[in-house]
Amino acid sequence: MIITHQIELESRGSLSVTNITEQVREIVHSSGVQHGQAIIFYRHTTGGVIVGEHEPGIIADIQTMFEQIAPVARNYYHHLRAVDFNGHAHVRSALLTNHVVIPILEGDLFLGTYQDILVIDDQTEPAPRYVAVQVSGE
């Protein structure tokens, strides 16, 4: 069985973090899959999805790290196209994973105690953001 859903995020961009664990869990529950896996795929090029602890200090550290690696205020070749000016977000996105795979065991996400599914969105302005969730198994 393979079931695909899409989650629309309420993201404001600028490295905002959205915890979608419960939404993914509901999709898994409604799928009826007992053993399998869920693929969570970020459908844009200015962010990513990680499995991590949704703790403010950790998020602050991640944001600080990205600001050091690819600061917003820098000239990026991407800006030469003069279409948009989010070069930092594309560089940071390249350092993130655009998908994660979570095992499903006995009908539930097989996550560790401190693990959450976090979408990091770095678009410069709030915009609709989508994450695909594909559940497969039996």
Partner: protein, 198 residues
Amino acid sequence: MPAIPRLAVEVLEDKYPQRIDFRTRTIFWRLAEELYLGKIDGRSFCRGVVEAAGIRVTPERLEGKLLSAALPHIPALEVLAQLPSDYRIWLVSDYPREWFGGLSSKLERYPFFSPERLIFTADYRLEKLVPEIFPLLVRDAGQPRESCVLIDGDSARAVEAVKCGLPAELYVDAFRLRRSFLLRKMLPEARESHSRSR
């Protein structure tokens, strides 16, 4: 209490079956920010929401529906109730004062929310809520910054608080809040050993 823009979306989608699109939700966010800052009152917020959503309802009626739908998250309050009595708990409300009267009855079972320790964000008359509000909250709490813990259901606000040096917990659910209190040794049971995996 639920975040005001989300509450507005939930009430509109529930009571007036209509999908609130992303652009409209961003207008709700902007209106809510003005509400938090005291630039508009609750009725004006509802007026803006009705206009943005294009829904045939009076702002007064929407306001009533928002207030009846706004419920405190009881499991969170139950965790707070477990804190030893020497912790002082302040309630920071981004709901406007005129709404709070109707909501306070829902908190009656939790007397640790003293009227003397109630802060309305609108009263600060800030230009920008974050990060300007954090040092003011610490000042009004009258405690060293490192002795305070801000508990917020808004991820971005909690993160900005930490960046300002104010310890913060992101409220995800009651289980995690209690676990965080244990890790911070704020609950008596913290002295008991507990295993955890990271």
